[in-house]
Amino acid sequence: MLLEGWGRYPRFESEALGLGDPLAVPGLVASSRGIIARGNGRAYGDAAIGTRRTLGALGLDRMKAFDPQSGRLTVEAGMLLSDILAAFLPRGFFPPVVPGTKLVTVGGMIAADVHGKNHHRDGSFGDHLEQLTLVLPSGQAVACGPSENADLFRATVGGMGLTGIITGATFRMKPVETGWIRQRTIVAKDLAGALKALDDSDAATYSVAWIDCVARGAGLGRSLIFAGEHATRQEVSSERPDAPLLPLASPGRLGVPFDLPAMTLNKASVAAFNELYFRRGARNGDKPFLTHWHPYFFPLDGVDRWNRIYGRRGFLQHQCVVPPATAHAALAEILDRITRSGKASFLAVLKKMGAGGSLMSFPMPGYTLALDLRVTDETFALLDQIDRIVVAAGGRLYLAKDARQSRQTFEAGYPTLGRFNDLRSAIGAPGHMASHLSSRLGI
């Protein structure tokens, strides 16, 4: 079967097999090589495509137990985040960390050690895990956690599926009074202003900046910073007395039903979009207002299959993180190149990160910038130049978004790779657990 990631680049043939019963996983894993797990395929590049076989985990979709006292939830690894939200938001619980889409599995969230808008305060998803069940290449199922088979745990969280198949996990949900977010918008006139605004929002639970990638010169890096808090029952009942306290998601009505010609995303249309978005955001000014949880956390999930908007050749997401000391200079240079190239991306998101998590986790203290670029003949060379800036700044790229970085860039960004490889060797993973990402990067 021809498989692709969310960016629709690259595409590879791989034999697709569905996992339905956790008890059947060990036999299947032990008896095949060149395999990797696949959750909901939201990684952008080649991470969830096995060199020979790809084991789909969506059938591992049962919840196991929930304790309302502690918020502790145990689920199978193919469980979608959207199912967790649907079952628990009405009961007043929210996941500890959510990425920018709810259409991901718990296994994918662990393997990529995903971060959310609260990373600066709460860390990544792996920081909230109490236990996971991992089927090793040998077929043996082991439980691991922060204090149980800790080495294996630290390699599996953020390990991009390369230590085995995760079949289940336990983590803590957090209590919330409402499904509303009290949002504040801060306008920053340039990049320095944006970084400062993010620093000033350290105390906010959630913060993220949207950068206008078309603005150049003095306005380079002009941004809107969205800070947010879970609204209290009292705030909602006084400001929106008619609103339900714990509203469910309304199913997205928009959709991109076919491949739009790549033309729709030309420079002029992106510039117009950015102008509009920036003005609309700026108008809301400093005054806090209530936002429904769904558009706040998952704005893109409102448009079905929006990845088709970039046309058949697909698109690339480039997400780097750079340390605080070099951040301003490096990000300014990256933005300058992007804006001058005229390949301004639809989305550019800037976020402050706190301490790093596991062995191969992406987050580290600093600032992370994510850009989307349509695949064209020139995109690859442009991104290679940007990678050199990232490496020189002491940064790294996010594997869940990557489809093209070089081994040199990867090795420079992940100095713990040696330890990861040693652990993989010890459990017989090399050659056994193998994705196109791992073979491209020499893992």
Binding site: P22, R62, M63, A65, V75, A87
Partner: protein
Amino acid sequence: MTENRKTMLLIGATSDIGRATAMAYAEAGWQVLLAARNVQSAQRNADDIATRTGAGVGVHALDILHSDAMPGFVDGLPVLPDTVVCVVGEMGDQERAQVEFDHAAMVFRTNFEGPSLLLGHFANRFLARGSGSIVGVSSVAGDRGRGTNYIYGAAKAGFTAFLSGLRNRLAPSGLRVVTVKPGFVRTRMTAGMKLPGLLTAEPAEVGAAILAAAEGKRGRDVIYVRPVWRGVMSVIGAIPEPIFKKLKL
């Protein structure tokens, strides 16, 4: 959550349609009892439903081919349920069933004899109590025998006739019997088959349709989950036999 919640029993709890049906009842506030021959896989669904909805869910062992054990099974339940839904079924292998008669007998017994006998036990107890609803999942395959699946079809035809007769018998006492003909459903039974999109339902649709038909204000006797099936089946039913017998179906 009230103390005197209603209870439903789902027979065939490892099936995808069964799981979705039990889930629909649990979401509507019912207590759920699951019965299956594979208790371990049924427990996986029980935990799932309980965790998602907060409903109480119990698991009970039952093999639909063991008719001697049925009275003990029914009396061993914690309560006599308000509604019982049977989704047990087995498509079998038509070509094999044409030559291996044990296989044909297993298909007959799993789709017709077993479910009918078990629902008969519930019918008698519901009558004695004066309340209760019965739902049987049959199939459009039973509406007319076709060369490619008439062993399964014949068994489902028998079950459909059983349900219709039972409905007729229980109606004067105000008890409801619902026959479900799901059409195509995307489940383990049909995995790998090419299914026409418009005619194919998701398990959750079947679950919701069963709940509405059995418990809704306006009850229904026979449901085709996707309404187009009613039309399709009346066309198929109207083809004269001399022509029908020559069609490759």
